[in-house]
C-alpha cells in the first residue's frame, strides 16, 4: 500500500525533524554619505571626527552641514540608519539646529551577522565643540571575534563624566540552536560615574551621569550574542545598542 507507506514515511520524517533556529538580528545599518562624493571607508579601519551644524531631515536622517576634515574643503554629511530601527530609536530632536561634533567609525571589513558588508559599526554625536562637548547620542552595530568584549568601538576606554562605558559580557545560559552551533545571548554592561548595571537583550534603562542637573542617558541594548560554530562568512559575535539623552 504505497499510500500508507508514504504516510508512515512522512510521519517518521516529521518525528525525526531536527529543526535549527538562528538568532534574528536587525542591524541599525548606519550609513554616511558625503556631498563631495568621497567615501569614509578606506583601506583600514578609520576614526573620523568632524564638526558642523545638524539638520534633522527625518527621525533617522541627520544632515551635518559645513563639516570639514584636515586638508579638505567643507562638505555636508548625511548620516542615517534604518527607519524601522529596533526599539524605535531615532536621532534626538535637540540635535536639530545645533552645532555638533560627530565621531564616525568606518571599517572596510565590517560585516553584518550574515556576512554582508556593514561598513559603519559606530556613531557618536555631541553638541558643542571640544573641549566643551555634551554627548547626546551613541549607536553601535558591530560584529567582532570572540565571546564578549571590552573593546566597543564607540569609546571611551573609561567612563567619563559625560559618556557611559559599555562592554559586552559573555553569557552561556540562553542560546538558539543554529545550524552550525549554538548562538549564546550575551549581556551589555553599562558603567556610569557611580552606577553600573547589566542589560539583557531588548532591555532599556536610564543612567544618570555627570552633573545632577544633566539629562539622564537612556540606554537600549538591542541584542548581543556570540556563536560557538559558524557557517561561511557568518559573524562570530555581535553587539547592537544605542544610547541617547
Amino acid at each position: 500500500m504505497p499510500g500508507s507507506r508514504s504516510s508512515v514515511v512522512a510521519i517518521v520524517l516529521a518525528v525525526a525533524a531536527c529543526a535549527n533556529r538562528d538568532v534574528e538580528t536587525t542591524p541599525f545599518r548606519i550609513d554616511a554619505s558625503r556631498s563631495d562624493g568621497v567615501s569614509f571607508v578606506v583601506d583600514v579601519p578609520a576614526f573620523y571626527r568632524f564638526e558642523g551644524t545638524a539638520r534633522l531631515l527625518e527621525p533617522t536622517v541627520l544632515l551635518v552641514q559645513g563639516a570639514s576634515l584636515p586638508d579638505t574643503p567643507p562638505f555636508d554629511v548625511t548620516l542615517r540608519f534604518r527607519s524601522d530601527a529596533p526599539g524605535g530609536v531615532v536621532f534626538p530632536p535637540q540635535l536639530d539646529g545645533s552645532a555638533v561634533t560627530v565621531v564616525l567609525v568606518s571599517d572596510p571589513t565590517g560585516i553584518d551577522p550574515e556576512g554582508e558588508p556593514l561598513r559603519y559599526p559606530a556613531l557618536r554625536i555631541a553638541t558643542g565643540a571640544a573641549p566643551d562637548l555634551r554627548h547626546q547620542f551613541a549607536m553601535v552595530d558591530a560584529a567582532y571575534a570572540g565571546a564578549g568584549t571590552n573593546i566597543v568601538t564607540i569609546g571611551p576606554v573609561d567612563p567619563t563624566d559625560d559618556l557611559p562605558f559599555f562592554r559586552v559580557i559573555a553569557d552561556w545560559t540562553e542560546f538558539e540552536p543554529a545550524e552550525c552551533g549554538p548562538v549564546y545571548y550575551d549581556a551589555l554592561e553599562v558603567l556610569g560615574d557611580d552606577e553600573r548595571f547589566t542589560l539583557s537583550r531588548g532591555e532599556r534603562r536610564e543612567l544618570s551621569i555627570g552633573a545632577p542637573e544633566a539629562t539622564s542617558w537612556k540606554v537600549l541594548h538591542v541584542l548581543s550574542w556570540h556563536r560557538h560554530g559558524t557557517c561561511g562568512d557568518q559573524a562570530e559575535a555581535w553587539t547592537q545598542f544605542a544610547a541617547w539623552r
Binding site: A147, I169, A170, G229
Partner: protein, 245 residues
Amino acid sequence: MLSVRSRATILVVAVLLCAPAGGRAQAASARGTALQEPVAPPSPPAEPPSTAGGETVTGDDSEFEPEIPSRSIALGPAGRGDMVVSLDLGWLRSGVRGDIGLAAWLDLVLRVDALLLYDGFGSHSGFYLGLRASPLSQGVLRAGAELTVGQLFAPGENTLTNVAAIRGSATAGVVFDLATLYGRADIRWLSSMKSRGPGWVHDGELGIGVEHVLGRFIVGAEAYVWTRPGLSTLGQWRLRAGFAI
C-alpha cells in the same frame, strides 16, 4: 525486612504449594466417597484461615507495602530498593537517567544529559541530582513531582563555563494495560552571569508522551515544546528506553 518482590515470590510459592495439596484433597475426597472410608475429624487450624484466593495474611500491618505499580520512566515510583535506568535520545536533548527507589513513594533521581544529536558535548551538557515524589502511584491515575539541582557545562574556544541549574517538574498520567499516557510540565532556572551577582533566567517544557511495558523493559516517545520567555518556542521530541532492575 522483606522486599515486596520477595514477598510476592513467597506468595507465589505458597499458592503453588497449596494448589497441588488442594487437588490431592479433592481426589481423596472423591475416593472416600466411593470407598465409604471413615472421615477423620478435622484437625484444628495451626494458622488463621485462608482467604478465598488461598492467600494467608500474617504479620504486622505496619510493614505492609503497596504493590509495585506498573513500571514507567515518566511516572514514579521505582519501588523501594528497585531502580529504573533509562536512555533518552532526542532533539535537542538526550540523556541517561536513573531512578532509585528510596521509599514506596520516593525516588532518588540522577540524570546526565547533553545536546547529543545537535552538537555532541559541545554545548549545554550537565548533570542533575534530586528527588521524585509520587504521592499518587496506585490505580489508573498517577501523578508525581520532581525537584533536581545540577550544573550545566558550556565549552567555549578555550574555556569551560559552568551554570547552576534547578529544575522542577510535575507529571500526571493514565495507566492502561496496553500503554501509559502522560503529560508533564517542567520549569528550569539557570544562573546567568550578571555583573552584579548571579541573575537567573528560566525556561520551561510542556510535553505529552506514551510508554509501553515489555516485561522489565519500557519504551516510550514524547513530544514537547521548549518555552523560553522572550524567545521563540521550539518543538522537541525524544525516544525513551528504560530497564527496571
